[in-house]
Amino acid sequence: MNIREVIKTINQMQADGVIERYAVGGAVGATFYLEPVATLDVDVFVTFKPEAGSVNISPQGIYDYLTARGGTVQGEYIVISGWPVQFLPPANPLVEEALAQAVDKDVAGTSVRVFTAEHLAAVALQTGHAKDKARLLQFIEAGVLDPARFQTVLTRHGLAAAWKRFEQQFLRDQP
């Protein structure tokens, strides 16, 4: 089980032209800014290339590429180096922007594209599950968000009201 091998595999897949652009999101993406928190899988957001002769986008090319290299498909996941990896298309404008504005990080000589802290926090707010709210609190407590940039992202994607509710619910009595 080695998440760095997952990153290397995805980089190679990009170099081989299977995907156009990718960025790591979710808990693994958050680990680039916060303390590590246990997670069971890796969310990788990708722009898919349409299959030849088709206008449809499909993860089939990714699955074919990875299974030929030892990956195993498990439902919506493909297991690489012991980690279930989910390849996700950008499903809404916020995630599209997060993918477009993702930043390059270095992992001991290996490059990896990761959502910005502000986009990870905004996606967590938008998704809104308990664990996502906990992650958003972690981002705030760690002080890694650029407040102006975060507010701009929230406003642009219609999340200002959700943020206000979150503030009232969780941050009202913060010291």
């Binding site: 760095r4 680990t31 996941y77 297991v79 809404n92 760690a142």
Partner: protein
């Protein structure tokens, strides 16, 4: 050792800051170790999904689909 809650909470925050400041390669290695521990601890059907092969993974995140005001997944 102290029972002063304020000091305890501050020490927890300080420890989390120290963890967050570790090199990313080290933090990713921690994720590997944490996942192995989760697999050991979690019971099937509790906030996770097991496939027939025994691969444990999170319930898929509900990343909202569609344009603003559009149909959501």
């Amino acid at each position: 050792m102290t029972f002063d809650l304020a000091r305890i909470l501050e020490s927890k925050r300080a420890f989390r800051r120290q963890l967050a400041a570790r090199p990313i390669a080290e933090k990713l290695a921690m994720l590997d170790a944490l996942r192995e521990r989760e697999i050991t601890l979690r019971q099937p059907g509790q906030s996770a999904v097991t496939e027939s092969s025994g691969v444990l993974h999170e319930k898929p995140a509900p990343y909202r689909t569609g344009r603003k005001g559009g149909k959501k997944r």
